[in-house]
């Protein structure tokens, strides 16, 4: 399958990628490119390989065959100073349960080398009253929000999100959809695995079905 999202600036390129899990082929000959300002929705049944593909795009897994490039460089070979261009949110929140929301966000900010306003992001997420609460005392949805907040702290151009709507209520889902929309409008690329593509459907969005 070969599809190309519109626009001209080189962005994400997935070329002839195959992924195997043990003896089982999840997918092969996967080709698509996504230019700046595009959304890629990865859909498929459970076990189709959505998470595996997303991990490979983030550089956390090695494709069995093929190559994944971000702006012309293999994602696994990106120098440290360019790794911040890719942000990945998987099934786990990447949040420490024994730290408060503020401590988690401060840590994410320092690691990203960002100067973003934590209070403002917490307000956007409806977590302003929870800033000094340890995340173990938050609901799964609230913890998800804390994890997603790191997206706003970093300066990544490529967002790789694995079912970001999981555990979120309607307001949280709207907010994430709005964030993704704003990111793409600003020239970023978002690759999102989802079971509800309608929530993130945008004109020109590329749908990759596994």
């Amino acid at each position: 399958m070969t599809q190309t999202a519109p626009a001209s600036v080189p962005g994400l390129a997935v070329r002839g990628v195959a992924m195997w899990r043990g003896e089982q082929c999840l997918f092969e000959s996967l080709d698509f490119t996504a230019q700046a300002g595009s959304t890629v929705l990865v859909v498929g049944a459970n076990g189709a390989g959505k998470t595996t593909l997303l991990r490979a795009i983030a550089g956390l897994a090695v494709p069995t065959a093929g190559r994944i490039e971000w702006r012309g460089i293999d994602v696994r070979a990106l120098p440290p100073e360019r790794r911040g261009e890719i942000a990945y949110r998987g099934h786990t929140e990447g949040v420490k349960r024994d730290l408060t929301v503020r401590e988690n966000l401060l840590f994410a900010r320092r690691i990203a080398g960002s100067a973003a306003d934590i209070e403002r992001i917490a307000r956007e997420l409806g977590l302003e009253r929870k800033l000094d609460v340890r995340t173990r005392y938050l609901s799964a949805g609230q913890r998800r929000r804390v994890g997603l907040a790191a997206l706003r702290l970093a300066k990544a151009r490529l967002w790789v999100l694995d079912e970001p709507m999981t555990h979120l209520d309607a307001a949280g889902r709207r907010l994430v959809a709005e964030w993704i929309g704003r990111h793409v409008d600003d020239g970023g690329v978002a690759v999102v695995a989802t079971h509800q593509p309608d929530e993130l459907a945008r004109s020109g969005a590329l749908v990759v079905e596994l």
Partner: protein
């Protein structure tokens, strides 16, 4: 450097908030070393003869108890992936995590060791050498532990496997550390084994983080 400090401070904070994990190896060390004098003869010469060996073996085994948690918690909650994808070089992340692990597991043990050594009637003159040898040996142990922990990230309940990987590599530490303490107890020159421990520490600290970084990349796949 900002990120390095952030990782060390975060890990220290987490260790003190999960104090039971922090205390387990120390409690093990104290219990094992206190049981030996009770089980054996209270004879001073006998205690002194076996004391050095008991101290070093207990220190090594108690350090192994804390190994599994070095990267496991970060891997389970997804924060390890975030660290590996961050602009911070993986080697720097590895060094920061090893330093934090050494501070919370080895430093309390080094502080406790001279107190425990007194129960084995070790001469007070040997205590500075015991502390010095532990100071030189434990960073190497932490680096070896980090390599083992990173390599076994994909395996559940990897503690025993890490032990199997690390113990053979850590045996020179046991040999040189116990030898240095033994020589000090008999008032002899201790420079030889201490230099060897120092050489191993330099090697581990300079090369180890590269191996840990490579193992971490493999471990998260």
């Amino acid at each position: 450097m900002d990120a390095f400090g952030a990782i060390v401070i975060r890990d220290l904070k987490l260790a003190f908030r999960r104090w039971s994990e922090l205390a387990n190896p120390l409690i093990f060390f104290v219990i094992v070393t206190s049981l030996f004098p009770l089980a054996l003869s209270p004879d001073e010469t006998e205690l002194r003869t076996i004391g050095v060996g008991v101290l070093w073996v207990s220190a090594l085994l108690s350090s192994l108890l804390a190994l599994d948690g070095l990267f496991r918690n970060d891997a389970d909650d997804g924060s390890l992936e975030q660290l590996l994808l961050s602009p911070v070089p993986v080697g720097i992340t590895a060094v920061a995590k090893i330093l934090a692990h050494w501070l919370v597991t080895s430093v309390p043990l080094i502080v406790l060791a001279p107190v425990v050594a007194l129960a084995f009637r070790l001469p007070t003159g040997a205590l500075p050498v015991l502390v010095g040898a532990l100071l030189l040996a434990t960073p190497t142990l932490s680096v070896l532990a980090a390599i083992g922990a990173a390599l076994t990230l994909g395996i559940r309940h990897s503690g025993p496997i890490i032990g199997l990987l690390v113990l053979p590599l850590a045996s020179p530490l046991l040999i040189f550390g116990a030898r240095a303490t033994d020589l000090a107890a008999f008032g002899e020159a201790t420079a030889g084994p201490l230099y060897l421990l120092a050489a191993l520490a330099v090697l581990a600290v300079s090369v180890g983080p590269i191996a840990v970084a490579a193992a971490l990349r493999v471990g998260v796949e």
